[in-house]
């Protein structure tokens, strides 16, 4: 199990895990539960530059389309083929096999929330 207390969060409901200079990005359980069953993901391509706070993809549920915001600046090194093939992993394992993509970063930007800050934001 991922220890969610070690993650950083955006107000747009992405989570970030930093391992060395690689940031793994996913959607929070709160986001997944709000969206309903995720049926399609549009993720940034490997090699693409993403910019913190900018839209870098889309997540479609049965009932809605939402944008994915890059939580960090950097170059995408990997996308999660498993979640592209089975988007429902976002619902079932948002912090494990439901991760979305990885980005090579210099550092995490200021302004990301810690778990307590994010939980306060979503009223949990």
């Amino acid at each position: 199990m991922t220890d969610t207390s070690t993650l950083r969060y955006t107000p747009e409901h992405e989570w970030v895990a930093l391992d060395g200079d690689i940031a793994t990005v996913g959607l929070t359980r709160f986001a997944a539960e709000s969206l309903g069953d995720v049926v399609y993901l549009d993720l940034p391509a490997v090699g693409a530059r993403v910019v913190a706070g900018r839209v870098c993809g889309e997540v479609e549920s049965t009932k809605s389309v939402s944008e994915i915001y890059a939580p960090v600046d950097g170059e995408v090194t990997e996308t999660n083929q498993a979640v592209l093939d089975a988007p429902e992993l976002v619902n079932s394992e948002p912090y494990e096999d439901g991760w979305l993509f990885r980005v090579r970063v210099d550092a995490l930007p200021d302004g990301l929330l810690d778990e307590a800050g994010y939980q306060a934001l979503v009223g949990a």
């Binding site: 709000s34 309903g36 049926v39 399609y40 549009d42 049965t62 009932k63 389309v65």
Partner: protein, 369 residues
């Protein structure tokens, strides 16, 4: 204004429902997985709270003549114990709402309207009541409506403790019968909004929580379902939803509802008859079904384009069909557009082919029942 809550609100909360505002009501959008809820209705059965729908009871010697004049329905020609789909129109032939009307007696009808159209339907009916010896009562606040939909619906309703419906199996599609739940009168109708066999049970609000619990206890296969599943189910079944496929500035023929107009058989005049007999202006857009490949769906408001890129229509509802596994959409398009079209999905053009509605045949025809 705070949204209204159903008499089943506490049941929904106990089941962990996620709520959404719909037609002025706070109603469950899903209890768990909306896809699992959808599949339950196609393969077994789902339980829906549709108490947000509006109910009007019409009684009196002129009840039939009043509804003949007020709605597209040939109310006089209905047999007692039958249900009919009908429209309330403006003089210009625009759709005020789509309705289900039940004939409960020679001088008694029940009109079920969409939640969001309660006020306009009430106003239209009240205005058209003049000079008729009939009474119109809005019973929405005292009434609960519970739907059991799916191939196992008859088995489950028949096995529900306290729910007594004489000759349940003999209730035909679009027919209804009086039953009772724990000594309280209930109306049980073989109608629904999912494209499956099933029942809608109308009973006093105070009896609804016990009936809801009794239905759930009757069979573990019965899955509580929210509005998300209700929407994808009705979309697969090609059924229009007011505010999406039906609007006050659209005529029935544009929405593919010419069949709901008994123009050749109904003698009585009704509001909008002249306009719908003349039909919509030449060139008016018409409702079509669109199917695509892949997983990305056209959504409400997305433009529909032809091969040249010209906008020829707009999507009114769309989703990745849970049953079919590919995207489906309904759209208003210029007459003659297609069959090969493009849905403008936020800048990328998704090929889509015009297809007859419904996308999915009724359950009975697919052999699920």
């Amino acid at each position: 204004m705070n949204p209204r809550t159903s008499p089943l609100q506490a049941e929904h909360e106990a089941l962990g429902a996620v709520f959404t505002d719909f037609g002025g009501w706070s109603m469950p959008v899903r209890y768990g997985s909306d896809l699992a809820e959808h599949h339950a209705v196609r393969t077994a059965a789902g339980l829906f709270d549709v108490s947000h729908m509006a109910e009007f009871r019409v009684t009196g010697p002129d009840a039939a003549a009043f509804l003949d004049a007020a709605l597209t329905l040939d109310a006089s020609a209905m047999r007692v114990g039958r249900a009919k789909y009908a429209l309330a129109l403006t003089e210009a032939g625009g759709i005020i709402d789509d309705l289900i009307v039940y004939r409960l007696g020679i001088e008694e009808y029940l009109v079920v309207a969409n939640a969001g159209n309660r006020a306009p339907v009430a106003a239209a009916l009240a205005a058209r009541l003049e000079h008729h010896a009939a009474r119109l009562a809005d019973e929405t606040d005292d009434t609960a409506l519970i739907a059991v939909q799916g191939p196992a619906a008859e088995r489950i309703v028949g096995a529900t403790a306290g729910l007594d419906v004489p000759r349940l199996a003999d209730i035909a599609f679009y027919a209804c019968a009086r039953g009772d739940f724990d000594g309280v009168s209930a109306l049980v109708a073989r109608t629904g909004y999912t494209g499956e066999d099933g029942f809608e049970i109308l009973l006093p609000a105070a009896s609804a929580p016990a009936a809801w619990r009794a239905l759930l206890a009757a069979d573990a296969a019965l899955v509580p379902c929210g509005l998300a599943a209700r929407d994808t189910l009705r979309l697969e079944a090609g059924m229009p939803l007011y505010g999406h496929e039906l609007r006050i500035n659209l005529q029935p023929a544009q929405a593919g509802l010419a069949r709901a107009l008994p123009l050749t058989t109904k003698l009585a005049d009704f509001v909008g008859r002249a306009a719908v007999t003349a039909g919509p202006p030449t060139g008016s857009r018409v409702l079509v079904g669109l199917v695509s490949e892949g997983r990305r769906a056209g959504r409400e408001g997305y433009p529909v384009r032809d091969a040249s890129g010209a906008e020829v229509g707009v999507v009114t509802s769309g989703a990745l069909s849970p049953t079919l596994g590919h995207p489906i959409a309904m759209a208003y398009v210029d007459p003659g557009a297609g069959p090969e079209l493009l849905i403008d999905v936020r800048g990328s053009l998704l090929p889509a082919r015009v297809t007859p509605l419904p996308f999915l045949p009724r359950g009975e025809q697919r052999g699920t029942r």
